[in-house]
Amino acid sequence: MERDNHQEGEAQGVKICDPPSERKPPDTLATSLSLLGNHMFPDPVERNNSTTDKEEPADLHLSDVTAQEQSLDAEPPSNQVKKLETEEAENSECQSNESAETTDRGAEDAADRVTEDAAAVDNDQSDSGEFVVTMLAKAKLEEQGIGVKGRSSPLLEAGTQESPAFMSHRDEDVTADSWRQHRKHVFVLSEAGKPIYSRYGSEEALSSTMGVMMALVSFVQSGDNIIRSVYSEQHTVVFLQKGPLVLVCVSSSRQSEQQLRGELLYVYYQIISMLTQASISRIFEHKKNYDLRRLLAGSEKILDGLLNLVDSDPSFLLAAIHCLPLASSLRDSLSQILQKAITPNLVFSILIAKNQLLTIVQEKTVIEDTRLEPADVHLLLNLIGASSAFQAGEIWTPICLPLFNPDCYFYAYISYLDPPECTVCLLLLSTDKEAFYAVAECKRKIEEAMVAQNSLSLIAKAQSYSVSQVGVSDLRHFMYKPFDVPDNYRQLSQFTSPEMEAPYSSEEEKMRLLDLYRYMHSRIHSTSRPLKLIYHVAERETLLAWVTSKFELYTCFSPLVTKACAITAITKLLRWIKKEEDRLFIRYPPKYSTTPNPSKSSRGGKSDQQDSTDNGFLSLL
């Protein structure tokens, strides 16, 4: 019926559909935005660090921690950086602080023109283009093994744009002061300047703002350069371009540019985990002004959840997994249960409790080729945490692990094992899209074994620990991340950290401590001038961060601690961690083989249970 005609017409429509060149916006905007050139610092990290360099001794050892460091603390560091930078920036009219965020009138009008142009093109051909593009995307998915073979689906063409049924911050008034005052905005847009995601406020309302952002990116690009960041008095604006997507963070959090860019990368990966990099590239290759929100509809909550986690969970900062402390005998027995419940093409079995990892069991051959990155696990944890949908029953869904392979899907079986509480979650990843029943059978086996061993009630008793268990007075909190030693380099990066307790019980105080850690982290990991050891006397606490070849450690003490005390405390802490490490970490990620004849790896001969090499950090003291 008319639908078929529709299709043909549309297919033709697309041939003439020439999406507006990405060069166009900068051309039209070049004059009105010329002043914005001053905002760009081709390598602000350099700048940033060169300025901070002036303020501290070249070589910072614990023994010669100086008062300068303390004076630095009196005034938040980025303030000074900012001042220096604004002094350097000759044309200070660019101090329209939130230029990227709100823009001056002229730029906004210009952006309006651009978006109108884009909209006009869109109206003509959007249906057609979108259909064809979706079909292409679908074809691509089929290539990857997840489509219906040889069937075109008219579903993909039904032109009705479904409004996302679940709103969170989407209704916010983007002109209100409260909107501007959010600590961290994140925007995702396409190269054509089309809004894809905004953390706060609706994307439609922000289309002109995003148009300006894209104009900035394109303008700098037209000069064969790449815009990386804009610093203003209160905000840091960080840009990240990944393929056809542009991600922008506008932050007043005083985090380093590097950290903010890392967070944007997480947002990008989360999008990839839902759509794959290959299909996104394919879509935009065929239609530059495709509205990606169509495909992300319903997933806003997952991105919102990710950004909240990134702000509140140091796992992301440390790029490591926080596993739930568990008696090693219990953890081993859980791993064995998972190891026994296997089926062909199963590659990962993951057990999660209270949003923390309990254990992870991996297919031998797969893991010998590639290692599971913490970021992929974070994305999975976020997906499970951000959606209540999993509580309904057993879920079977395609999912991509971007760091494992950004272009292909796994099929994830997700089910809670303790309804209705829904705290213990099983995640089984298979490479076979048809494997639902086989994988669901694995869950049945796991469930039975767990009942037999009374595992659920044992897991329920497991909890994070209090810093008081360490038995070091003045120590308020810490984060400890051991580094992989060569012998167990296949191990997942992990860290351990106690609960945040008083005085860090309130959300504000937690955030303040995390901000201090972020600051320490940015100093330790500064690209131009990394530090190994920082003793930082802040107003209400004293922090000590230390990185060695064996570990990375952040500690927080009461403000009255002396340097000598802190050193003794850290020695004790490290000794305690050593004693408890079997409980705090997944020491030997177990493996299984689902293929009858596992191919021999060149690295073979390494037994699963060997390499008990300790991390040897005590020798450093």
Partner: protein, 204 residues
């Protein structure tokens, strides 16, 4: 003689694969939850597909409904056939307060009709959110007319209020013709379930 808790031992268990299809936000998951657990709670968008089971005991047979609650979001459409393949029953769900979801349901219908030889799958058209009658954009008559035209069964439900949901299950069983042909029992009854031509229209 229909009991959901059944005391007498059934002759056999029938596996009934049922799939829910429709736009994002029409209430497929809420309906599934109503079927599966007789609960209502607001849900977040389904990721991929949720699988629930419900066992219904009848006097002479036990039905094990395997409910595949698909995600309405467009990004999952390419994988949806994974879930509706081999379904004995399909519920095409729309939201009576959103016309575009009704249009979308018809598109799903076309898709299903392409995939199936007539009679192999029993299809129901379900207008959900009956509790939003004040915002109604699709009339009962329209739904009924479409159902008659395409030889579907039709009902309106409210997952929120629980209206007609269990009835839908019971009638589905009737529609599947199970009671009439107990020979089809045992583990699976294949794709040959006779289609109930004039399905019991429980909406009047």
């Amino acid at each position: 003689n229909i009991s959901f808790h059944g005391g007498e031992s059934p002759k056999g268990t029938l596996r009934v694969k049922m799939v829910l299809l429709g736009s994002s936000g029409v209430g497929k998951s809420s309906l599934a939850l109503r079927f599966g657990k007789d609960e209502f709670r607001s849900t977040t968008p389904t990721v991929g597909c949720a699988y629930l089971t419900r066992v219904v005991h009848l006097s002479d047979v036990t039905l094990r409904f395997e409910i595949w609650d698909t995600a309405g979001q467009e990004k999952y459409h390419s994988v949806t056939p994974l879930y509706y393949r081999g379904a004995h029953a399909a519920l095409l769900v729309y939201d009576i307060s959103k016309r575009e979801t009704f249009i979308r349901a018809q598109v799903w219908l076309k898709e299903l009709e392409k995939q199936y030889t007539p009679g192999s799958t029993v299809m129901w058209l379900v207008g959900n959110k009956g509790d939003l009658a004040q915002d109604r954009q699709v009339s009962v008559q329209e739904g009924q007319a479409l159902a008659n035209d395409r030889d579907l069964s039709f009902t309106e439900t409210s997952a929120l209020a629980g209206d007609q949901v269990s009835e839908l299950l019971i009638y589905k069983k009737a529609v599947l013709g199970l009671i009439e042909s107990p020979d089809l029992t045992k583990e699976t009854f294949g794709n040959k379930g006779p289609k109930f031509k004039d399905g019991p229209h429980i909406y009047h």
